[in-house]
């Protein structure tokens, strides 16, 4: 079995009397896309900062490619933090080239790579512009470029699409997808549950510093309510002991099925009850619903944001 790209064992982090992360263990396999999920303050960023040596853990071990992270040795890691910024008084091309060199690229190669990247994200004309003259979204594109320079084998992205409009969000996800296809291991921290379902192979849900759920996306969905049915209908829905409605609108409903109940039996029951079923889609509980189940109403605003 290959060495995990990331391995966290019994990690605990305390800040004074407050325990931010409590005995957390998980691993990320090479080449997979891993989602680290949780409400604000659940310990996600703390875990990443400890993993990357920014925080000193209270207890436990955190390894990147088999050993504690050290920028001198783990040069092939790209990190896009939640707290973002670059040397604002410097030119875009100079900052990108500097980071490229720090990652081990020759200066000329780093400058060339930066030029290609800026062309791809539509910032070629801003190469010699000072960073603080760019818009927030443009600065984020530069930061992503710095993160993926030298094609890192591990990418850690903390809320990568925060603040992006839909067009640029799509562009960013395409770039991340290219990296993933190129064999990179991707760890993504996000509140966008649609991104989680679309991108992630496995996820870890943190709640109050502890692992609430951990596994593949279908496994986590099954663990929090199994299957759901989405239907458009006419007429009132009957009550049943085999399902419970989780969303009910005028002609649309989402039903969560009890364990062992098959969608076809539900369809039959609805038809028998005289419901005019116009569409019927059986699937697992969405990650958004899982998130709401785990974190309750407090998290609802985060997800919708």
């Amino acid at each position: 079995m290959s060495t995990p790209a990331i391995e966290v064992t019994d990690f605990t982090m305390r800040f004074g009397a407050r325990t931010a992360v409590d005995h957390l263990s998980f691993d990320v396999r090479p080449g997979e896309t891993f989602g680290l999920l949780g409400a604000n303050g659940s310990g996600k960023t703390t875990t990443i900062r400890a993993l990357l040596g920014i925080y000193t853990p209270t207890a436990g071990t955190l390894h990147v490619e088999g050993r504690p992270f050290d920028p001198a040795h783990n040069s092939s890691l790209g990190y896009l933090p939640e707290e973002r910024g670059l040397y604002k008084k410097e030119k875009v091309i100079d900052v990108m080239t500097y980071f490229g060199q720090l990652k081990g690229m020759p200066r000329a190669e780093a400058a060339l790579w930066s030029t290609y990247y800026l062309e791809r994200v539509g910032l070629a004309s801003h190469a010699t512009t000072r960073l603080d003259k760019l818009s927030g979204g443009q600065q984020q594109k530069v930061q992503l470029g710095v993160t993926i320079m030298d094609n890192p084998t591990i990418l850690v992205l903390d809320e990568p699409t925060k603040g992006f409009d839909p067009v640029n969000r799509r562009l960013l996800l395409d770039i991340v997808e290219d990296q993933r296809r190129g064999g990179a291991t991707v760890v993504i921290i996000t509140h966008q549950m649609d991104e989680v379902e679309r991108l992630c192979d496995r996820v870890l849900l943190l709640k109050d510093g502890r692992a609430e759920a951990y596994g593949t996306v279908p496994e986590v969905q099954d663990a929090y309510g199994g299957r759901t049915v989405r239907l458009h209908h006419g007429g009132p829905l009957p009550t049943s002991t085999r399902w419970r409605p989780i969303t009910t609108e005028r002609s649309y409903a989402e039903l969560e099925l009890d364990a062992g109940v098959e969608p076809r039996d539900v369809l039959r029951e609805l038809v028998d009850a005289g419901v005019d079923v116009r569409s019927f889609d059986a699937s697992r509980l969405s990650m958004e619903q899982v998130f709401l189940k785990v974190y309750g109403h407090a998290a609802q605003e985060e997800v919708s944001a």
């Binding site: 920014i54 000193t56 001198a72 707290e83 040397y87 060199q101």
Partner: protein, 421 residues
């Protein structure tokens, strides 16, 4: 430490600073200002000399009354003086504007003092009347003694000294020049590079780039690279400042305008009197380097604890004051080097650099004692830099917040490398 990255950090820091027009404007403004001042001094000095010559050539007409009998009439006549019979009438003539100057010499000029009544020529020029009175009396005294060799002693003479220590000639003040240069260097480094060094330590947190940079380069590599970068920039600034000094050395007469001590030092160096006491020069160099590293370490620690350069400014000011406070107490330290006060200033890490560099230059500290102080400074410099790096890791992630004492204690206990091990 990744040697490749430290070179990258240094190159980035130097390149971006030298590429800024504001750096060159600030740097070039100093020698330009100096050149302007020297130019003004030179021309005003030349015009003052011309004015003095013109004043000397201009005859002075005055009256005098002499109750002492010292004044030689021929000397008085040579200076433009005419004896007056009534001192009150002569003084009244000046007061009424009919005469420019009257000098009233009593029976005993030394005990009673000479009284001068003169026309007001302004605060500076009016001093000329006093000079005339002095010239009248001293030249008359010389004329009456009539012994030029004897009276020439009053005009001053040179004294050359030859000092011996342990059977060998002592180098004297000339040997202090080279070691003292390191004190000047430390002062210049602190003044010119201090604020810049403080800025670079808070730059990452102010720009929110901490996490990206710390996962790319080790904090100690980053800090040391930045410090070296600032030092190199300082050397460039120093070289630019050398331009007016070179001009002074090459243009005859300019040296005298910067003041007597500098002129004397230059003369001493030119005359080959600037003896080199190699052990003290080497000690001065070592003390300077260790002191600079200590200073840099303290600045890094301050920058790491404070949320911004503005907040760090007051703490930075306190460090500067503490470092250069011994300059005010130097006479006392040099006169009583073995007193408790002198020993505290000599061995306390913040005051040790300036105190010991000075004492080393003038030879008021034994070399073994200076070595002991050097060891204290080196130890504190290593501790300060190490603490600075740890605090940088802790503080730069705190962004807008100032580190609490608990945070500082935790940082001091953390490992310098491989924190997640």
């Amino acid at each position: 430490m990744n040697a490749h990255n430290i070179g990258t950090v240094i190159a980035f820091e130097v390149r971006r600073t030298l590429a800024k027009p504001s750096f060159w404007i600030a740097t070039l403004s100093v020698p330009l200002l100096m050149a302007l001042l020297f130019g003004l001094s030179f021309f005003s000095g030349a015009s003052a000399a011309q004015s003095s010559l013109e004043s000397d050539a201009e005859p002075v007409t005055f009256t005098y009354t002499d109750a002492s009998g010292i004044v030689d009439p021929s000397v008085a006549a040579g200076l433009g003086g005419t004896a007056a019979a009534d001192p009150e009438a002569a003084a009244a003539a000046v007061r009424e504007g009919r005469s420019a100057l009257h000098i009233d010499i009593p029976a005993d000029p030394v005990a009673e003092g000479v009284h001068v009544v003169g026309e007001d020529l302004g605060l500076m020029e009016s001093g000329r009347w006093t000079s005339v009175a002095r010239a009248l009396l001293t030249q008359s005294a010389v004329a009456r003694i009539d012994e030029p060799r004897l009276t020439s002693v009053l005009d001053g003479f040179t004294v050359t000294s030859e000092l011996w220590a342990g059977g060998a000639p002592a180098p004297g003040w000339g040997a202090a020049i080279a070691p003292a240069l390191f004190l000047v260097l430390l002062f210049m480094a602190v003044v010119m590079l201090g604020q810049q060094m403080l800025n670079i330590t808070v730059e990452e947190k102010e720009n929110r780039v901490t996490e990206m940079i710390l996962t790319t380069v080790h904090p100690s590599t980053l800090i040391i690279g930045k410090v070296i970068g600032v030092v190199l920039v300082g050397i460039v600034q120093g070289l630019v400042l050398l331009v007016p000094l070179l001009a002074m050395a090459l243009v005859p007469g300019l040296t005298s305008l910067v003041g007597a001590p500098a002129a004397e030092m230059a003369d001493a160096a030119a005359a080959g009197q600037a003896a080199v006491d190699l052990p003290r020069v080497l000690m001065g160099a070592a003390l300077f380097l260790a002191s600079f590293v200590l200073f840099a370490g303290i600045l890094v620690a301050i920058g790491a604890v404070m949320p911004s350069a503005k907040d760090a400014g007051s703490a930075f000011g306190s460090v500067i004051i503490a470092m250069f406070l011994p300059l005010y107490a130097l006479p006392l330290v040099l006169q009583t080097p073995e007193s408790v006060f002198s020993r505290v200033l000599t061995y306390f890490p913040l005051t040790a650099p300036v105190t010991t560099l000075t004492r080393n230059a003038v030879g008021s500290i034994e070399l073994w004692q200076a070595g002991l102080v050097l060891a204290v400074i080196v130890l504190c410099a290593v501790l300060a830099l190490s603490l600075g790096v740890r605090l940088f890791r802790e503080g730069s992630i705190a962004y807008d917040q100032r580190l609490s004492w608990k945070d500082i204690v935790r940082a001091t206990r953390s490992k310098a490398t491989n924190p997640a091990a």
